[in-house]
């Protein structure tokens, strides 16, 4: 465990982290993870975080060394897309039993599991994840992996991030460390070129990176490795030969980006493909970094031409939604997405932002959001479920955009809701993705079910005139009742 705790210290000490730079030495040493409150904690563990980051590598077999729950309760739950191999979606776990734990048979079982996977599936690599139980009973996963790699002649990568060491975010970073220690730089590519880049922290949810990649293709920029979305093991192993990198989800893989810069001089910037201006800015920065690293500067002009063209098309498409969405009030409640660029695009077509969470936004983001909204009352760190429910029940927003966890707060408050986190089905990246997001907002807000579900049951509605309530004694009254209840117009619903 000593190497793991060193690693955790190191990760917490991340110098590239904006939040970290604001702290003094002592606070930095304490790390970012706030102590969890038993009974009031929510969110995944370090194992979860590590698996999320690595699992979209599509041709790798991901083997979870644990009793059933860790993998059995969590597999096949995220919508990253693959353009080829499907092995990553097959779930492997050692499924340790009581006897395995008591008799200390875990390591042997793990070794056997690796052999079975190698023989049945022949993957280029197997990633082995440690977990609470296997860490607690002292399984030496690293040694088993090393031995298996030698014996079977394939990469077997230990991922040391048992759940109890901390949060999901910490697990993200420990996954990055595993790649740095065991994968990146282990293979030399034979096709390295001056326009090779890495995209770090892009998960290709719903295939959304494919909305962006063709733009890079057009510019002659090659994605050496997108980590982890739609990646192959070999892509990741040769990622050290890229010329520049873009870091998409900053809090997840910042250590990976910084250390790759340190080790292999790959400069990086932090960007986002959500929203129109952000997408343009990302393309611009990629080209700049490549030119800085020796690419032909003509790419800068081509990039600007492409941006102008794509922005024009996208704004035009968005403008078509203005008449339908003008004045609609959106509540953005999300941690993952860097929201200012989306806020900007939504406001451009006349949508009003009645609130946005800034929990995972950087100080710079917050500043930008504040400027756009002109009112920082609309920014909140986090809102309690009850508050959120109250706000939505009072119709203070026409739609909430959020992740799955708050979905039912909106739905039970009979308010339209759109998933913009990892379980979603629709791609929102790039120019076309922004248009798709607005299309989905339009569909959600204008779905006719809202009128229906908000209507109280007729027997709960007070009658307009008391006398109209029919009495069953009198036949004519009952006939009246028919006319009243059977339809909007009695004529249509039966001439009695």
């Amino acid at each position: 465990m000593s190497s793991l705790s060193t690693k955790i210290q190191e990760v917490f000490n991340e110098p590239a982290c904006e939040k970290n730079r604001g702290k003094d030495a002592k606070a930095r040493k304490e790390g970012c993870s706030k102590p969890l409150t038993p009974g009031a904690a929510a969110g995944g563990c370090a194992f979860d975080g590590a698996k999320i980051v690595l699992q979209p590598i599509t041709d790798v077999a991901h083997l979870v060394h644990a009793p059933l729950a860790c993998e059995g309760n969590s597999w096949d739950n995220r919508g990253a897309a693959s353009s080829g191999p499907t092995l990553w979606r097959t779930s492997f776990t050692t499924d340790l039993t009581e006897l395995d734990v008591v008799m200390g048979q875990g390591e042997r079982k793990l070794f056997k599991a690796i052999r079975e996977i190698k023989e049945a599936y022949g993957p280029p690599a197997i990633f082995v994840y440690s977990t609470c139980v296997t860490a607690l009973i002292g399984e030496d996963i690293e040694a088993v992996c090393k031995r298996a790699a030698e014996k079977f002649g394939l990469a077997v990568v230990p991922v040391d991030a048992p759940g109890f060491v901390g949060s999901k975010n910490l697990g993200n970073k420990l996954a990055g460390e595993a790649l740095l220690d065991h994968v990146i730089g282990t293979v030399e590519p034979d096709d390295a070129g001056p326009y090779d880049i890495n995209i770090l922290g892009e998960f290709n949810l719903a295939g959304e990176f494919w909305l962006v990649k063709p733009l890079l293709d057009r510019l002659g920029i090659r994605v050496r490795a997108c980590i982890p979305g739609d990646a192959r093991y070999r892509d990741v192993a040769t990622a050290h030969r890229a010329r520049a990198a873009m870091m998409v989800c900053s809090s997840a893989l910042i250590n990976l980006a910084r250390k790759m810069e340190e080790r292999w001089e790959i400069p990086f910037f932090e960007g986002s493909f959500y929203g129109i201006t952000d997408t343009s800015e990302a393309l611009r920065q990629i080209s700049h970094l490549l030119v800085k690293k020796g690419a032909d500067p003509e790419i800068l002009d081509r990039t600007e031409t492409l941006i102008a063209l794509e922005e024009g098309i996208a704004w035009k498409k968005l403008a078509a939604y203005r008449p339908r969405l003008q004045g609609k009030r959106v509540l953005l409640n999300t941690g993952g997405v860097k929201s200012w660029s989306i806020v900007h695009a939504l406001m451009e077509i006349g949508i009003e932002i009645v609130g946005t969470s800034v929990k995972k936004s950087t100080a710079k983001d917050k500043e930008r959001i504040k400027q756009i909204l002109k009112d920082d009352n609309h920014m909140f760190e986090q809102m309690a479920a009850r508050e959120l429910y109250a706000m939505l029940s009072e119709h203070k927003a026409d739609i909430m955009l959020s992740g799955g966890r708050t979905q039912f707060i909106a739905l039970k408050a009979k308010t339209p809701w759109l998933d913009i986190n990892q379980e979603r089905q629709h791609p929102y990246a790039g120019y076309d993705g922004m248009v798709e997001l607005v299309r989905q907002i339009d569909l959600a807000i204008h779905n006719p079910i809202w009128r229906q579900v908000r209507e109280p049951a007729p027997w709960d509605r007070p009658p307009a005139v008391k006398d109209e309530l029919p009495s069953t004694k009198s036949e004519t009254a009952t006939v009246q009742a028919f006319k009243k209840f059977a339809g909007a117009t009695a004529v249509d619903f039966g001439a009695c």
């Binding site: 897309a81 353009s83 080829g84 326009y195 719903a206 295939g207 959304e208 494919w210 909305l211 063709p214 733009l215 293709d217 057009r218 510019l219 002659g220 920029i221 090659r222 994605v223 050496r224 192959r232 892509d235 081509r302 031409t305 063209l309 794509e310 739905l411 039970k412 009979k414 089905q425 791609p427 790039g430 120019y431 076309d432 569909l443 959600a444 779905n447 006719p448 079910i449 229906q452 579900v453 209507e455 049951a457 007729p458 027997w459 309530l469 029919p470 069953t472 004694k473 036949e475 009952t478 006939v479 009742a481 028919f482 009243k484 209840f485 059977a486 339809g487 619903f493 039966g494 009695c496």
Partner: protein
């Protein structure tokens, strides 16, 4: 205003319709101890019979007058008489429902007169058996018309005419043919939960619900009793489901004075609300907790389900009232009706279909008009079109021969609407296509300026 487009093709390609006498027979099958009798050549009966069996997976009582060449030329009155007497002797039915076919109608046979004569001449032989006639030539109408004519014929022929003492708790219900066995059962339970006594005509839930009787019975074994049909005039009110049932309801009102209310659809929250409010008002009873619970469940199904419906293009081929029931269900969930194909232009309900146009036609039309749809909705014969187009098929209507249990699918009121939402959402989820780089490529269909052209680079 919806445009009704007439059929212009000479050749119907993959017909949508089932024949009119089949619809009439189906209605007679909803009466206890009944024996439908097709007046035509024996093929008319056997083809309909085979289709019924494929759909219901049941032995179906259905007989024929087996018109031969001589009878076709000289007249079928004797065949009809012989058939009725034979059926009476061999199966002792309480009702023989005569459905004419195109053959006897084309030769211009006066079947009503013939039956009147038989009844007179053979009064003793057929005592205890009602004989009613539905004029249902195959060259006109489809199931809707046949069903409605049979119900009308039963009311005209069996129900005791004249104003009668009304029982305040008794409700007559005339359901359209498109209600399933489960729908009828549910209707009955719902009405009974308000302390009312429903008489449902026809009641296929008693006869075609797929049970295993402990002896062999050659007629239907369950359904509306002839006695109940006779006493329809004592009902306090009549409730009718489907525009095609307006005619029988009007006849009942004319004959007995029982007023009716017509529901064009019982699917959807609003239709269900109106129905429940109505029976609550008639009975004077408050809405039971169970019904309130079902309503809340439907609200939640609307919320959970609508994600799968929004913006989807639906292509439906069905008879008019079912088309209306389904089209409004889909548009209420946020989908668009991309194609609506129907069997006839005669129904008043077509004006209310929430689509730009309604094509009178066949499954060939559905295939052509629905090529871009996300879902085809029709009976089992639509499966080939669905396969060719690569679009999932939702099975509705008649016949459904490649799925089991279609009669037990609930489609009305809170619970049925809830189930429909789940069924459709599940079809969409089961047929979701994984995203591909090609499908998402934003530049795929676009002309690019030359300076931006470069060969796409790809590593895998």
């Amino acid at each position: 205003m919806v445009r009704i487009l007439p059929q212009t093709k000479a050749a119907a390609v993959n017909p949508l319709k089932s024949s009119q006498p089949l619809g009439a027979a189906l209605a007679f099958l909803g009466v206890d101890g009944a024996m439908p009798l097709f007046h035509g050549s024996q093929g008319c009966t056997s083809l309909a019979l085979v289709l019924f069996v494929r759909h219901f997976k049941e032995a179906i009582p259905l007989q024929t007058t087996a018109m031969d060449e001589v009878a076709t030329i000289l007249g079928g009155a004797d065949r009809l008489e012989e058939a009725i007497l034979n059926l009476k002797a061999r199966t002792k039915p309480t009702l023989i429902g005569v459905c004419t076919t195109a053959l006897v109608e084309t030769r211009g046979e006066d079947c009503a007169e013939e039956i009147a004569t038989i009844k007179l001449k053979r009064a003793e032989d057929i005592a205890g058996t009602e004989v009613v006639l539905a004029n249902t030539p195959d060259f006109d109408g489809a199931i809707e018309e046949g069903w409605a004519k049979a119900v009308t014929a039963m009311i005209e022929g069996i129900t005791r005419p004249g104003q009668q003492a009304r029982q305040s708790k008794k409700i007559a219900i005339l359901p359209g043919w498109h209600l399933t066995v489960a729908d009828i059962e549910h209707l009955r339970e719902m009405v009974e939960s308000f302390g009312l006594k429903p008489v449902i005509l026809p009641d296929i839930s008693g006869s075609l619900d797929g049970t295993v009787p402990d002896r062999w019975i050659t007629t239907t074994y369950g359904g509306t009793s002839v006695e109940d049909i006779r006493e329809l005039g004592t009902a306090a009110q009549c409730i009718v489901i489907g525009e095609h049932m307006r005619r029988p309801a009007e006849v009942l009102q004319r004959v007995t004075g029982v007023p009716y209310v017509l529901f064009q659809s019982l699917t959807g929250l609003r239709g269900a609300d109106r129905f429940v409010s109505l029976i609550s008002a008639i009975s004077g009873a408050t809405v039971p907790a169970g019904v309130r619970r079902r309503r809340a469940q439907l609200q939640d199904a609307l919320l959970d389900g609508h994600f799968h419906f929004g913006g989807k293009k639906i292509a439906i081929a069905a008879e008019p009232d079912q088309l209306y029931q389904l089209a409004t269900f889909f548009t209420d969930m946020g989908s668009d009706i991309a194609a609506a194909v129907v069997t006839t232009d005669m129904s008043k309900i077509l004006q209310k279909i929430p689509a730009e146009s309604v094509q009178v036609g066949d499954l060939g039309d559905l295939e052509a008009l629905g090529a871009d749809a996300d879902l085809l909705v029709t009976h089992s014969h639509g499966r080939q079109a669905a396969q060719r187009l690569g679009i999932p098929l939702m099975h509705v209507g008649f016949p459904i021969f490649d799925r089991l249990g279609s009669q037990h699918k609930l489609t009305i009121l809170y619970q049925g609407t809830r189930d429909l939402i789940f069924e459709v959402a599940n079809i969409f989820q089961a047929n979701r296509h994984a995203p591909t780089p090609e499908a998402l490529d934003p530049l795929r269909m676009r002309d690019m300026p030359d300076e931006l052209r470069s060969s796409p680079l790809t590593r895998h």
